[in-house]
């Protein structure tokens, strides 16, 4: 049996908060955990698998401290795979594999952060071997400026323009205007985006994701558990992981590791780009979306700029509706990590529970893609293809 047939997503929950000064980071993890379990008709007492990334506070990559905080007493499987904002997308497939192997039956995956009103953990630990050559204190490199290096090179090689990148933000703001919880409610125009201040040329402020508090959680269970619950499951059709590293200094900024993770997911799912009704694409920056769409094969390499024009990404009737919650660019990017909200919105679309105005008609197959790390240096990709349960 395909590992993915053994498990389904049964619960999903996004915290409604975007500024949470009065809640601890652990409390936000706890609230989203309870929310996703309640969505599935489960409670914390049912959880035997626990998956979190380093956004969780405390010891053991988070899971030890959070298991204690939550009072999880029945854990048989724990995984703190850390892959930046893409982590929860890894966690869903790792949970499916653990369930298929009989290691657990109810897997809880949480993500939370409060960079807006508090301190975000993570990024600590011992110095990395490359640090003295590229880290911010030596080169002034920051997250925006390293993504800007990628955008600049993409523009140089393919003629991509700032106006084309802006189309991605515009689509996100249109979607966010249908989402009462979205941080950014105002629809922006291409002119608004390109006239926002340059942070690191060629990226403007509006090319960057939001800084928000909040979080989300999903619950993956065995088919057997799902049958006992009164909630529409979402199938995990295929999954692929990959990493793209600096390769002895042969850095190429025009593509991401989606070129490897994408085909792996499509092959396992037995579908092609033409079968995809909706995409959740990691949107730390507009350039992130553009390169990933090319790398997944939705258009030819270098054609991303032209592809996103003319409302391609705008729900419900664009050719490829994306991030219909508003995404990290306009809705929510909790803890600088966009992975969990990407999964949650895909689940909403497949269940027909997206916001009015952005629900894709007859949404049967969705693709979720996360990019952890940095387009300008090293990154990890996770691609997941989800299906509506018949």
């Amino acid at each position: 049996m395909n590992a993915n047939d053994a498990a389904v997503i049964i619960g999903a929950y996004e915290h409604p908060g975007r500024e949470l000064p009065d809640k601890s980071l652990a409390q936000i993890h706890a609230e989203v955990a309870i929310g996703a379990l309640a969505d599935a008709g489960l409670t914390l007492d049912d959880v035997d698998g626990f998956f979190l990334g380093h956004d969780a506070p405390g010891y053991g990559g988070g899971w030890v401290s959070m298991a204690e905080y939550l009072g999880l007493r029945s854990l048989t499987y724990m995984d703190s795979t850390e892959s930046g904002g893409a982590s929860p997308i890894y966690h869903v497939s790792h949970a499916a594999a653990a369930i298929a192997a009989g290691k657990c039956n109810v897997a809880l995956i949480t993500l939370a952060g409060k960079p807006r009103t508090g301190i975000q953990p993570g990024g600590g630990g011992p110095l990395r071997p490359e640090d003295s050559f590229e880290m911010g204190m030596f080169t002034g490199a920051g997250l925006v400026s390293t993504y800007a290096l990628a955008a600049q090179r993409h523009m140089y090689e393919y003629g991509t323009t700032s106006e084309q990148l802006a189309e991605i933000k515009v689509a996100a703001t249109i979607h966010a205007s249908h989402n009462p919880n979205a941080f950014l409610q105002k629809v922006m125009t291409v002119e608004d985006v390109v006239n926002s201040p340059l942070v690191a040329d060629p990226l403007h402020r509006a090319d960057c994701c939001l800084v928000t508090d909040g979080g989300g959680a999903v619950v993956v269970v065995s088919r057997e558990v799902a049958r006992s619950l009164n909630r529409q499951p979402v199938k995990i059709l295929g999954q692929g992981e990959a990493a793209k590293l600096t390769d002895g200094g042969r850095v190429d900024l025009t593509y991401t590791s989606a070129v490897q993770s994408g085909p792996r997911a499509f092959e396992q799912a037995g579908v092609t780009v033409n079968d995809i009704d909706y995409v959740s694409i990691y949107d730390s920056f507009t350039i992130t979306v553009l390169e990933i769409l090319e790398d997944l094969g939705f258009c030819e390499k270098g054609e991303g700029g032209r592809f996103v024009m003319d409302g391609t990404l705008v729900a419900p009737h664009g050719r490829l509706p994306f991030n219909t919650d508003g995404g990290g660019l306009s809705n929510n990017h909790p803890g600088h990590r966009g992975g969990i909200t990407k999964i949650i919105e895909a689940v909403r679309q497949l269940r027909g529970e997206a916001n009015q105005g952005v629900q894709v008609p007859d949404c049967e197959i969705a693709l979720v893609h996360g990019n952890g790390g940095d387009l300008g240096t090293r990154m990890r990709s996770a691609t997941m293809i989800l299906g509506r349960d018949a």
Binding site: L127, P129, E130, D131, S132, F133, E134, G136, M137, F138, T139, G140, A141, G142, V144, S145, T146, A148, L149, A150, Q152, R153, Y156, P197, L198, V199, A200, D201, P202, L203, D247, G248, G249, R250, V251, L253, G376, T377
Partner: protein, 147 residues
């Protein structure tokens, strides 16, 4: 001047940082597969051989990509706008660095650049790059200095 904090020296890179004090730009070369390796480390990431050695690189290259940074934090806040870049070394690797001694609005992909060392005040220096003056520009500079 950009901030020039002292680097973290470890056994992989001690020789590299020592050479910077003498204005020499070292890289690592694999004697089995022949590839130039960046950042410096003793095991070749291409063929995984330990048969690697230090080599003095030319310190010449060209701009592979760049960004003029307008907003930054910490010590870098006071030096905007500055140029973050990848320089493709003539030996092959692309390294993250800064372009200095330049008009930030004039930097372009493909520009020829050369290494300069910026003293950390701790017995070593950070490698950065500046535009290579064209022959005519160099002779003009020489003339104006003579005059």
């Amino acid at each position: 001047m950009l901030p020039a904090p002292k680097p973290v020296v470890n056994p992989d890179t001690a020789e590299f940082w020592k050479a910077t004090a003498e204005g020499r730009f070292l890289g690592r070369r694999c004697d089995d597969c022949g590839e130039a390796i960046w950042y410096p480390r003793p095991i070749c990431p291409f063929c995984h051989s330990a048969n690697t050695r230090w080599e003095e690189f030319t310190g010449l290259g060209s701009v592979y990509s760049y960004s003029v940074v307008h907003r930054a934090g910490g010590e870098w806040k006071g030096v905007t706008p500055y140029v973050l870049a990848y320089v493709e070394l003539d030996e092959g690797p692309r390294m993250m660095t800064n372009i200095v001694d330049c008009d930030v609005d004039e930097v372009a992909i493909g520009d020829k650049v050369e290494v300069v060392f910026e003293d950390t005040g701790d017995g070593n220096a950070l490698p950065r790059f500046r535009p290579v003056q064209s022959q005519s520009a160099q002779s003009q500079t020489a003339q104006s200095q003579t005059a």
